[in-house]
């Protein structure tokens, strides 16, 4: 059981680290000062959750791999994040919609994880569930502002839906490792989050006057390490310093 639990924790950790890194790419480039603070703030929450999950996964694994080894020394094919979180930032509409899709999933997920059989996971979830509530609110405000804004902003928001919606299905799919951890009561069942996710998202879409896409061709593969081109670039930037100076610490 411990081996599959480690894999499932890495999937969750990778989701958070990759999305946190994507958000951090906005630092110094956001359209206004408030957003330049808000996006790295959310990135800190996500990277903080990733650190806790990596450290815990490493300790269960028991081979001496710590959070730095897991984050910086695994290659692209070893990363197990879902495809949604690695999508490029695109424009502000895409960044905010990606955040809403992910946070809308994580809120019920962390809520359910507070009833996990695993004490450490319950602790991580109890902190993250409050932070993710802020992420939903922040992202939802922007999706409404842009979707129900000018003709130009509404066009960007509609394009973001067109671009990203096909990556949401993967959130509800459990890898064999995650399914085993779910069956053992260690992790919440991903498929059960769909109702809460759709309720959150549909309410925001209605307010933003966005059409809910009917038929999209779902994209998946991240949990098997089959990623888009963008993840390699992200990891190259994120890992280069550590790989250039192996073993360096602050």
């Amino acid at each position: 059981m411990s081996e599959v639990f480690v894999t499932a924790l890495l999937e969750l950790a990778d989701d958070h680290l990759v999305l946190g890194h994507r958000l951090s790419e906005w630092c110094g480039h956001a359209p206004m000062l408030e957003e330049d603070l808000a996006l790295p703030n959310m990135a800190l929450d996500l990277i903080g959750a990733a650190r806790g999950l990596y450290a815990y996964a490493g300790s269960i694994e028991g081979n001496g791999r710590g959070e730095d080894d897991l984050a910086y020394l695994r290659g692209e094919r070893e990363y197990l994040n879902c495809l949604l979180v690695e999508r490029e930032n695109g424009d502000f509409a895409q960044t905010m919609l990606r955040q809403l899709y992910f946070a809308g999933f994580m809120e019920p997920y962390w809520q359910a994880a507070m009833a996990s059989r695993d004490e450490t996971l319950r602790g991580i979830a109890a902190k993250a569930v409050k932070e993710v509530a802020y992420h939903i609110r922040h992202a939802a405000e922007w999706v409404v502002r842009l979707g129900d804004g000018t003709e130009e902003s509404a066009r960007h928001m509609a394009e973001a839906v067109e671009e990203l919606h096909r990556f949401t299905d993967e959130l509800f799919l459990s890898s064999p490792a995650a399914a085993a951890a779910e069956a053992a009561g260690l992790l919440p069942a991903r498929a059960e989050m769909r109702g809460a996710w759709e309720a959150t998202l549909r309410a925001v879409f209605a307010e933003a006057r966005l059409d809910w896409p009917d038929a999209v061709w779902p994209q998946k593969g991240g949990r098997e390490g089959a990623h888009g081109e963008g993840l390699g670039h992200l990891l190259a930037e994120m890992q280069s310093l550590h790989r250039a100076h192996p073993g360096a610490v602050w």
Binding site: G20, L37, N41, G48, A49, R51, K130, E131
Partner: protein, 163 residues
């Protein structure tokens, strides 16, 4: 009181006086992030909890607590605890008064439920006391603060977020 109790109390005092690096008017005890100090086999073990998961000050705080215990003559170890999670209700009344005097609007009490985050809350201006204030951004200069502005005295100010 036994000798152990006395030295445990002394260890607590040493650790509790450590200031928060981001909001130095508050000590770690005011903030409620120092969960306890105990003597275990002659080693002072301090239990510290993070405010936010990704708070970059966590490591600095842990090092400062360890240094304070060493300075007070103890062998020291710091343990990070995440359960039960820290909420703003852990900030002491003294801590709230210090925040207000420092110009940061303290968090409301009883704000530690997720849904309470979505209610309308009145944040009074820490300078003039007016309740005619507006939120500029949910996110501020540190993970634990939001940015507000007072419509009465026109001063911008930080609000310690409820979590």
């Amino acid at each position: 009181m036994s000798v152990t109790d006395l030295s445990e109390a002394r260890a607590w005092e040493a650790a509790a006086a450590v200031p928060d690096p981001e909001i130095p008017v508050l000590t770690v005890a005011d903030l409620g992030i120092l969960r306890g100090v105990s003597l275990e086999g002659g080693v002072a073990v301090a239990r510290v909890t993070p405010t936010y998961t990704g708070c970059p000050a966590v490591l600095a705080i842990e090092l400062a607590v360890e240094a304070a215990l060493l300075d007070a003559g103890f062998e020291a170890r710091v343990v990070r605890v995440i359960s039960p999670p820290w909420t703003t209700d852990w900030i002491t009344d003294a801590g709230r008064a210090k925040l207000l005097a420092y110009g940061i609007a303290p968090p409301a009490k009883g704000g530690n439920s997720v849904r309470a985050l979505f209610g309308e809350t009145v944040v009074a201006c820490p300078r003039c006391g007016s309740e005619d204030t507006e939120k500029l951004s949910e996110f501020g200069s540190t993970p634990c603060k939001a940015q507000y502005r007072c419509r009465a005295c026109l001063e911008p100010f930080d609000h310690f977020k409820c979590i």
